[in-house]
Amino acid sequence: MLEHVVNGLVLGGTYALVAMGLTIQYGIARIMNLSFGDTIIAACFGTYVLFSTLQINPILALAVVVPLGYAASLLIYRVIMKPLVDRAPSDGALEVDSILVTFGLLFAIQGVLLIFFGGGYTSYSFLNTPVNVLGTAVAGNRLLALGLSLVIAAVLVLVLYRSRWGMMLRAVALAPQSAPLFGIDTDRAARTAFAIGGALAATGGVVVSMFQTFTATGGVVFTMKALIVVILGGKGSVPGAIVAGLLLGLVETFVAAYVDPGLTLAAVYTVFLVLLLVRPNGLFGKA
């Protein structure tokens, strides 16, 4: 029982982490990014390559993969998203355009990964020693993953809610039309937000790769779960993403443990639908 709670929290922690990335991209940059999960998978493979060929430990890999995720996302925003943002006559049109373009991007990233790594399941063994937590054995890499997720999430929340810069980003999320009136460069905010989202996806990828197997085609499921967490938490709400992420991780782990591992996605969908019908604006969304 306790073992499942810990495992659920580990999984939930990573969901919360990546969902924060997605919610920042959607809430501030207004891009609904369907290739988000493939960014995560790309980071998984990046970490794997660093670890298995160069013996670089995943924690150090963060220092390489995360800036790469940031830079790549920045580039994608500049080249692909910006023209769409500029030409979109309305938020609705941008939403459709961004969904379509990132759907294309998903296939492109997946194609690249398939060429390099093939379609099979990949994993590596890092810190796989059991650690005793309150009487149950938990793999060290899982604990590390949970720790990393919590620390990074906490830093992000602090930055968003305590710094000037975070306030600017939140202002753009709340009032995109009036933010420029206060001298906020919304274009820069959007660009930065999209890149931060990419960096968080990369972080999530590094963390996930430490304790889970992954495949080149697994991005869709990650995107799906991150999207569900974002919606459950309320669009653009960081605390919401954290709570919803942990909830989803627990639900998934318990279903896998007590019902059947093959039904986790079905369980996630059910939670999603029920909550959507009961609280259409998410747990923390404004009415």
Partner: protein, 306 residues
């Protein structure tokens, strides 16, 4: 289309007759190409039936397509063929009703997200069912069909789909759909039951898509979830319909024909890079529509009428 029905119908009937006769004169390989093309013409037209006017982008094409194929795989030895097809259509319809009822009253973006993961959900659930309940993984389809038999069935389905699309475009329902695409609030105040209209169209569209999967199933002989729930199918259908213009009767078909041939050639010439090329091509298509896809849809619509 600007052609009068009195001319258009005989022309369409003649084209249909030529297409139906084609397998008797061309090599089997080309019958196979025609078959695949007809499948995508039907998929794209059926997709656009719902997603064109309502602007609810459905990414779940392969969920229904796969269900159709799988039902045939499960039932092909248990029931006579027409009943198998009927069951497939019925199951697709029920699935569409369930999805539609739970998502269509919500904002469009929830629908997109839900459909995005639906194929994966159905695939995992079917796999789970097969492994844990029926103890099988992979099934064989034994039906006495050659390529041209499947092709003829698909051709008939394509004709029916186009006919349905044509009839809806001229009916009260078609007007309601256009109004919903423009402004749901105004549509509702004019007396349209918006959720019901969307649901009805989604179910019609999904049922047709399910049938395409069901009819094509015998082509594989061996079927397992990862084969029939291949997300590329959703993706290609979407590109084809968007390229051709989902608001026109012939738009999706006109998009499907060249793109299918292109994809066929690409998948043979660059089997490893297919997915990348597909993705980039799609991004390009979204980009060459300078005012955004929605505006492009409107342009085409105005251009078509003027």
């Amino acid at each position: 289309m600007t052609m009068k029905p009195s001319i258009a119908f005989p022309v369409a009937a003649a084209v249909l007759a030529v297409l139906a006769a084609a397998p008797l004169f061309i090599p089997d390989y080309w019958t196979g190409v025609l078959l695949g093309m007809t499948g995508y013409v039907t998929l794209a037209t059926a997709w656009a039936l719902f997603s064109g006017p309502t602007r609810y982008v459905s990414l779940a094409t392969v969920a229904f397509f796969g269900v159709g194929a799988y039902v045939v795989a499960v039932l092909n030895e248990a029931l006579p063929y027409p009943l198998v097809l009927l069951s497939a259509a019925g199951i697709g319809m029920i699935l569409a009703l369930a999805v539609g009822l739970s998502t269509l009253r919500l904002a469009g973006v929830y629908f997109v997200i839900f459909t995005f993961g639906l194929a994966e959900l159905v695939r995992q659930t079917v796999s789970w069912w097969e492994v844990n309940i029926t103890y099988t993984m992979g099934r064989y389809v034994f039906l006495p069909f050659e390529g041209r038999h499947i092709y003829w069935q698909l051709l008939a389905l394509a004709a029916v789909t186009l006919l349905i699309s044509w009839a809806i475009g001229r009916s009260r329902l078609g007007l309601a759909l256009k109004a919903i695409g423009d402004d749901e609030v105004v549509a509702a105040h004019a007396g349209i039951d918006v959720t019901r209209v969307k649901l009805l169209l989604f179910v019609i569209s999904a049922t047709l898509i399910t049938l395409v999967g069901a009819i094509q199933a015998p082509r594989w002989t061996y079927i397992e979830p990862s084969i029939v729930f291949n997300p590329t199918v959703s993706f290609m259908t979407l590109i084809m319909a968007l390229l051709g213009g989902p608001m026109r009767l012939w738009g999706p078909a006109l998009g499907a024909i060249p793109l299918f041939l292109l994809f066929e050639w690409l998948s043979v010439s660059f089997p490893d890079h297919f997915s990348i090329i597909l993705g980039l091509l799609f991004i390009l298509i979204v980009f060459v529509m300078p005012q955004g896809v929605l505006a492009k849809i409107d342009d085409i619509r105005k251009g078509g009428r003027a």
